[in-house]
Symmetry: C2
């Protein structure tokens, strides 16, 4: 906007062009916010700072505690109000050594990473014969006699989708595979990484033991290692593997959420929650998962504030412990669930461009959705036909009926990096990150200033 006004003045000074007053009128607030946000530097600086000065920040560890301190200081410096950490305690699984080698027929090492809550091997490891399953469905269909005393290998190969929807289907190997294998008597399970890259970087991630399943060692092979193991098994000879996955569980470790606000002019109008998560997996520095999400939430709230105080309070929620089960989201809801929440948004799918907006608004509020969709269209954002669902950090709010908007990010390359050592700052595209900030800023602004009645409580 600044650029156009200067140009107009220069043209007038030259006396060469007469521009009708209507064209020179101040643009609508959304246009101004969008243009300013497309020049945003806060989101990238936040991401750079958190990933550089803290690095990996697993839930319930001292690194996550340092991330909270860092975020509180940063959000205060950025001018937010009511900045504070809200502590809780949680059990913590800690990775030890992750090592595997094929003993026969073709001795060589394999690169892998234990899954969250994996059982631990003894320090000297375990040995076993590997049994192959192309997919989780094959594992489910197999008789226990085929698995007993064996190391299970599930080789299902993930394919990328723009909206990330394939994570549900392919992710079952990680989420349910270990429990199924354990219940059928396997001594360990290896899965092909739930990932779409071809690098020697395994994709970790959480899995929860089902009722009655004894924890066994459980790990993800990098995609090239899974393909190698599959090729070796394809030779038809028995394959024996030595596996060392040491880990331990700690009780009642400190974790916490960080909260920061842009106070609204009308406290009775409810709170708009802009959520992300501060914790990350332990292998990378959590740049796209989810430092960028926190950068987007904070930067877009600030862009709204710069344009003038909103009607509703915007509350940035940087949740703890998202990766391991959502302890932070539950702690937030326990502490704040009775407050009036007008709407919630979450950013937790990287930093590539937003391509679609989905809504779940109260009956009779279609007009608000239309206004937002119109403001997003210049950013190349289409409108979806499915209801918004939110993510883990706002799940308890959404379950309680709080309206939600999803600004859907392009996930085509997200699962190249997700939960790997490769989730580092260099993967963030600053231009696409700014498009996220712009989409978030116009959306947050319209929701925070909507004249409609919104929310529950």
């Amino acid at each position: 906007m600044q650029k156009i006004r200067s140009g107009t003045l220069a043209a007038l000074a030259l006396g060469s062009i007469v521009i009708p007053t209507a064209v020179q009128a101040a643009p609508p607030r959304s246009d101004a916010i969008r243009e300013a946000a497309l020049r945003d530097d806060v989101a990238y600086a936040f991401t750079e700072g958190l990933t550089t000065e803290i690095g990996p920040r697993p839930a319930g560890t001292p690194q996550e505690a340092r991330a909270r301190d860092w975020a509180v200081a940063k959000l205060k410096a950025l001018g937010f109000s009511n900045v504070r950490a809200e502590p809780y305690v949680m059990p913590v699984w800690l990775r030890g050594r992750d090592e595997a080698k094929i003993l026969s027929p073709f001795p060589q090492n394999l690169v892998l990473a234990a899954l969250g809550n994996s059982g631990s091997t003894p320090e000297k490891g375990i040995e076993g014969e590997v049994v192959y399953f192309p997919s989780i469905a094959d594992l489910e269909a197999a008789p226990a006699s085929a698995l007993k005393g064996k190391i299970v290998f599930v080789d299902h190969g993930m394919k990328a989708t723009q909206d990330g929807s394939s994570y549900g289907y392919f992710g079952a190997a990680r989420r349910q595979g270990p429990s199924i294998a354990s219940k059928k008597g396997a001594i360990a399970i290896l899965i092909r990484s739930i990932g779409t890259d071809h690098h020697r970087v395994p994709h970790t991630g959480v899995q929860m033991w089902a009722e009655g399943a004894t924890p066994i060692p459980a790990a993800a092979l990098s995609v090239p290692d899974a393909e190698q193991l599959a090729r070796i098994m394809g030779r038809g000879k028995p394959v024996r593997v030595h596996l060392t996955l040491t880990s331990r569980m700690l009780k009642d470790q400190p974790s916490g959420n960080v909260i920061a606000e842009i106070p609204g002019s009308d406290p009775a109008a409810g709170i708009v929650v802009a959520a992300c998560h501060l914790d990350s997996w332990d292998q990378g520095t959590g740049a796209i998962d989810d430092a960028t999400g926190c950068g987007i939430a904070a930067a877009s709230a600030l862009q709204v504030a710069k344009a003038g105080q909103p009607r509703r309070t915007i509350r940035v929620l940087m949740a703890g412990a998202e990766e391991v089960g959502g302890d932070g989201a539950r702690a937030y809801f326990k502490a704040h669930g009775t407050e009036k929440h007008a709407l919630a948004l979450e950013s937790d799918f990287g930093a590539d461009r937003i391509w679609r907006v989905d809504f779940k608004l109260p009956q009779g509020h279609a007009a608000l959705g239309t206004r937002i969709a119109q403001a997003l269209a210049p950013l190349g954002v289409g409108t979806g036909s499915q209801p918004a669902g939110g993510g883990a950090d706002i799940a308890p709010l959404v379950n309680a009926g709080v309206p939600v908007i999803d600004l859907q990010q392009d996930g085509t390359r997200y699962f190249d990096l997700h939960h790997t050592p490769d989730d580092t700052l260099d993967k963030v595209d600053p231009e696409q990150l700014r498009q996220n900030v712009a989409a978030w800023a116009v959306t947050l602004d319209m929701v925070a200033n909507a004249s409609e009645t919104l929310g529950v409580n």
Copy 2:
């Protein structure tokens, strides 16, 4: 060719098409070889077999010995003559644990790999303050007082070139950096990987201690880790690192070359050497470095044989120990240097397409070069204006005056993978590999059958 003849016979049998005899004439030998080689499956199968059934094969280790046994069996099965391993002994450097963590100001782990011949830390590691150098030139220019007792970090970032020529310039940080740092009193050296990717896969590689340089621990950080360390150092606070790089040296370990021949009809015409190396670095499975090179050499020699016995013997040399200094090439020359070598070629730059041919032929042999260039043109191969130089596996032959041809491969993505854990089978493009086989086959055939007098001895 088989396909065209069958089609023609079928058409004649149907009586539906009359084809002039001239069109049905057998194409020139080079055309036939090129077309057959573009359907080659041997090079890929060789690569797949070696990388799967052996995997990593560091020089002078039992894995390299298994690779020799594997290659001898495979080359015999493929129909080569005079297949044998030729043993020698050599000193061997063996990697131990490679671990590093920043202690302050921002505690976090770094991913790195010791360089070949690195000094070893004690088991418990060492600690030191890091000093930053943007390039090897800055390290050379620095006074010893700036390095003494410190851990040196050289951050020079490699850029890709199609012909790989930037390896000389950027590779100096690995080749000379450790000796310079040691002589100036540094306790260890970290370099940014000599690589062009952005993955958490460090690029190892050999370095030789200069006269008078005491071995110190020396390692390459992955590119994202080097960028992270540079950002952290850019904050201006002292940076302390804990480094554990355990390794050991063994004397007189068994290594060897593997040799296989397509015997020529005229023993007095000299031998054409088609070289590659069988050893690999220890982190990956050495697919592009250099299983594909050996696949190309073997497959192209077989394509020539299929077209009819050549005048000259084609000798495939699968050298040992290329990665660590060329012990195999020297052993070959010691054993065979007095034989008449007509010409040598080497494939050791991945498996992406050949784009240029360079020659170093005897005076008065320009016509042979022209014939080869004409046969390569249909494969999209241009002709260079610089003399060919060969590579490490044939360097002693080339130094002794043996003519050489370089079939230059596209190296744009070679240094994304070179010497990393990521050098695995999935990086090989079968179509580009076949183009290599075709270019090699027509070249080998023309050299082996050239009526000119070639070679030394």
